[in-house]
């Protein structure tokens, strides 16, 4: 029985490419006309993101409809089948689960490039993962742009800021909707470029432009992996894809199917090499352990950039890449065997490394940056152990609470601590002047640390639960310890920022305020310049002191690693519009508060979209986002054309071979279910696009275990903070300054495990310099000599060629042909008598001859 049914598609799904195109066009408009627009280009950015959000919301709605339609057909078919299938394959019917049909992505592409039979397109390929990411990126970027209107108001490159922000979102959207690896690389590189532009937004300060370069180059190291990996996979899979799917090795669906096909070409070594190379790209982009160093330095950019970079774009691109071509990693790293995969190890290391570093940061944004590193480690850990869904769900929830935390930190520095991000020097006690910021900070902190019922609880707990379920006991404890550490460092940050006595700028202790007030009243350029010289003088006088009690003086330039150090330059125009008056910290304006309140709302409730412990009905993300592990008949898959509504056969219904997922859970399988996609070779003529994953059954004891760990960590951290900082908050002598061994550990962390030193001093100097010297020597002695010799030889050959070939043969031939033509012309000259009648006679005579020839030919 082939129950071919037309799947529901829709305008939004088929035109999802607009989601990426609109911001790209918006970027062009802002760059070209932005400065002449009333809001300096911000309205174009916000408008284009709003349009993208509308379309992606429509696409999400239609995707849900499409999945529902496919499921209802699947259930009908299964009901018919299970009657006779029961005897053949009892397990299929026993669970009462219908085999979940594969829901094909909606593909709309145009040919981008083609050559000798190889072609790839550009357009959109929308499936559950793409829909989720598209909506997320559009939503978060829209809120961040609204926030930025107030936050970077008066900036000298205001228009460019919005242009880059919009292009950044476009890059991520293009990458997320990619149908082939080439488009994915395109979006990936656009993001890399834009991150460079945005991190170095205030490039006048050398630290900022260095941070931008560092981010760019570190990510480039990973990008080499991306190119190599795409090439390896292309050459591995191309033949199979051409033969079986009428596609090629760039097509993502073809790559997925190839990796799971069990074809001889998909050998372990090709897959391992490809997966390892692609994972290097993910390490670079997603800030995993050895290459995480660029992420905290990226804090040099404006806060909205940090929020965007760390939530929904850029850093999750690496995680997305792994999730997108998951079958390659699944097979390459043997996740199906329950082996300890490279991804899981790196993820586990990153969790602990990032969390430890977050303890010693004084910059509130760097705490959050290392927190992001740690959370990305969770995502990788989940992907590496087969918990695909939990990883994607964590991307979703993490985006909300992390962007909320960053924007709240921006709000604090914008209105509370006078553009300083130093928690020890310029913050403290801010909960009273900034109640709304404090509230959203608390909500999203609770979400980040995984407290019931906030978003992070549902996603992070699911990751930890699934890691344990798949048999990785050690990594399970790593995850729990990471969760405890998250609670501790966030308590520290919260305490230092919002509790205790106000310090530095938060106490209104800086001279700058009065001067700004003065500037605000008089608003003349000369006074502004005067203020600049004054503050410069203050900075010179104060340079290098930087102690806590007189930090107010140096908060605008005393500390070298402070992103906003050159405040007099960066926010020179800021003071006039910034509601700065002589009172110190105050609540931010509505344009800043509204986006963070919305984000806090999602940080609170977004976890309920996949609340596994509450039962299957709550698992919406699982239903709609996780690709179905089903064997799809290839000819049905091929029937789908660009933008057409697709047909579908209920996979394997006739064989009575159901989805093994329920079976695996029911059998209480220790790690993975045997059989199904990713474990067996698909039937001839069918292809799998996603491995069959098992999901952990939530148990009360595990939930209480993780909640208990977090609660204990909170208790310890709060107690420590109150006891320690509470008593000594006037002068924050660290414990680390008194105990030698602790001091050593502190310095080790403070110097970021000396990884930066390793990269810059050891690798760059010790490796790059000899190489550069060797290359120079080689250049001078070998290459130059060769070039000289070759040049000499070429010159001699050239002279000989000129004398013999050119002059004699070629010139002779040209002259000869001219002469021949001239002679022939003279010979024919007498025929041109100039007499009209003679010409006419020739004409008619020739016509008559031809007519006669024609007649003879036709007759005979």
């Amino acid at each position: 029985m082939l129950a071919a049914e037309t799947l529901v598609s829709g305008w939004f799904l088929e035109n999802a490419w607009l989601i990426g195109l609109i911001p790209a066009l918006g970027f062009a408009v802002i760059i070209m006309f932005g400065k002449h627009l009333p809001m300096k280009g911000a309205e174009v950015g916000i408008g284009s993101m709003a349009a993208s959000l509308v379309i992606s919301t429509g696409a999400a709605y239609q995707w849900v409809q499409r999945t529902d339609a496919a499921d209802s057909h699947g259930e009908e078919a299964a009901g018919l089948i299970s009657g006779f299938a029961r005897s053949l394959a009892p397990h299929a019917a026993e669970g009462g689960h219908a085999p979940e049909p594969f829901v094909e992505p909606v593909v709309t592409t145009w040919v981008w490039w083609q050559n000798s039979g190889l072609e790839f397109g550009i357009g959109s390929s929308v499936d559950g993962l793409a829909v989720l990411m598209l909506w997320l990126v559009a939503f978060i970027t829209l809120l961040i742009q609204i926030y930025s209107v107030a936050y970077v108001r008066g900036d000298r490159r205001y228009t460019h800021f919005f242009a880059s922000l919009t292009l950044f979102a476009a890059g991520m959207l293009v990458m997320v909707m990619a149908e082939n690896m080439v488009q994915l690389i395109l979006g990936w590189e656009i993001m890399g470029l834009c991150s460079f532009l945005l991190i170095g937004h205030w490039w006048e300060d050398e630290a900022n432009s260095r941070a931008a370069l560092k981010a760019f180059f570190t990510v480039r190291v990973g990008d080499i992996g991306l190119l190599v990996g795409v090439a390896i996979i292309f050459f591995g899979s191309n033949q199979w894809a051409v033969d079986n799917l009428d596609s090629n090795g760039f097509n993502i669906a073809a790559i997925q199917a190839w990796a799971l096909s069990g074809d001889p070409s998909a050998t372990n070594w090709v897959l391992i090499a490809g997966a390892a190379a692609l994972f290097v790209a993910a390490i670079g982009k997603s800030g995993q352990f050895p290459l995480h160093t660029w992420l905290p330095d990226a804090m040099a950019g404006p806060t909205p950039v940090s929020a965007l970079l760390h939530s929904s774009t850029m850093v999750v691109a690496g995680v997305f890449l792994v999730a997108r071509v998951y079958p390659v990693f699944w097979q390459g790293f043997n996740i199906d065997d329950g082996g300890l995969s490279f991804i899981a190890i790196i993820g586990g290391i990153t969790i602990i490394v990032g969390a430890l570093l977050a303890f010693v940061q004084d910059d509130i944004k760097k705490v959050l940056a290392y927190s992001t590193v740690s959370q990305l480690g969770y995502m990788m850990l989940a992907l590496g152990t087969g918990a695909w869904l939990a990883a994607v769900f964590h991307i979703f929830t993490h985006a909300f609470f992390k962007s909320c935390l960053f924007l709240a930190a921006g709000s604090v520095s914008h209105s509370g601590s006078h553009h300083s991000f130093d928690m020890k020097k310029d913050m403290g006690g801010l909960r009273k002047p900034m109640p709304v910021t404090f509230a959203v900070w608390i909500v999203s902190t609770l979400a980040l640390t995984g407290v019931f019922p906030f978003a992070g609880f549902w996603s992070k707990d699911e990751i930890i639960d699934n890691v344990g379920h798949h048999g990785y006991t050690f990594l399970f404890w790593v995850g729990l310890i990471g969760a405890a550490m998250t609670a501790m460092y966030m308590t520290r940050a919260t305490y230092l920022t919002f509790f205790g006595e106000p310090r530095g700028a938060a106490a209104g202790e800086h001279h700058e305020d009065e001067e700004h007030a003065e500037e605000h009243e008089m608003e003349t350029l000369t006074v502004g310049a005067h203020v600049k010289t004054l503050s410069a003088a203050a900075n010179i006088g104060n340079g290098g002191v930087g102690a806590g009690d007189d930090g107010g003086l140096s908060d605008d330039g005393g500390s070298g690693d402070e992103p906003h150090a050159a405040d007099g330059d960066d926010h020179g125009n800021d003071a006039g519009s910034d509601h700065h008056d002589d009172r110190g910290p105050h609540e931010s304006e509505m344009l800043i508060l509204v986006p963070i309140v919305i984000l806090a709302f999602f940080a609170l409730f977004s976890g309920f979209t996949n609340a596994t412990p509450l039962g299957e009905d709550w698992e919406r993300v699982k239903t709609y986002v996780e690709p179905r592990a089903a064997e799809v008949p290839i000819d049905e898959y091929l029937a789908s054309g660009p933008g057409e509504s697709l047909t579908l056969v209920i996979p394997n219904a006739e064989e009575g071979e159901g989805e093994d997922e329920s079976h695996g859970e029911e059998a209480g399988a220790e790690s993975h279910a045997a059989g199904g996609c990713g474990f067996e070779t698909p039937e001839p003529g069918t292809a799998c696009f996603f491995p069959s994953l098992t999901h952990a059954e939530p148990t009360i004891s595990k939930i209480f275990l993780s909640l208990g760990v977090v609660a204990a960590a909170y208790a310890v951290a709060i107690a420590f903070n109150v006891m320690y900082y509470g008593r000594r908050n006037k002068r924050l002598f660290g414990l680390t300054e008194r105990s030698r061994s602790l001091r050593g550990g502190y310095l080790f962390l403070k110097n970021k495990y000396y990884l930066d030193a390793l990269y810059e001093n050891v690798i760059v100097h010790a490796v790059a310099h000899p190489i550069a010297n060797a290359v120079y020597w080689f250049n001078q002695h070998v290459l130059d000599a060769t070039v000289d010799k070759v040049g000499e030889g070429t010159k001699r050959t050239g002279i000989w060629m000129y004398d013999n070939i050119d002059q004699k043969i070629i010139d002779g031939a040209v002259d000869g042909s001219g002469q021949v033509a001239s002679e022939a012309g003279h010979a024919l000259q007498p025929t041109q008598s100039g007499k009209v009648s003679q010409y006419g006679a020739l004409l008619f005579g020739a016509a008559a001859v031809f007519a006669i020839v024609l007649v003879i030919v036709n007759v005979s």
């Binding site: 008598s833 100039g834 007499k835 009648s837």
Partner: protein, 99 residues
Amino acid sequence: MLVVNFLLLAAVLFCIGVYGVIARRNAVLVLMSIELILNSVNLNFIAFSLMHGNIDGQVFALYVIAVAAAEVGVGLAMVLMIYRNRKSIALDELSEMKG
């Protein structure tokens, strides 16, 4: 039989035209001879059109008439200019094109 008469007439006209073009010295007469040739061709068209019951030939003949009118216009203008320059329209005196 009917068609054969038409074709014969056309052939006669064609021959007269060719004779005129080749043998006549007067440029105006040469132009008139060309007209004869064209009209003989027109006759052929119409005759075949009748024979096959197809209107295409007649339409084609209309086009030929239009082209012939234009051609005569250009030709007469040239003859006029030649007469003004040389006070003669004898074609055998015109041999500037001799190679």
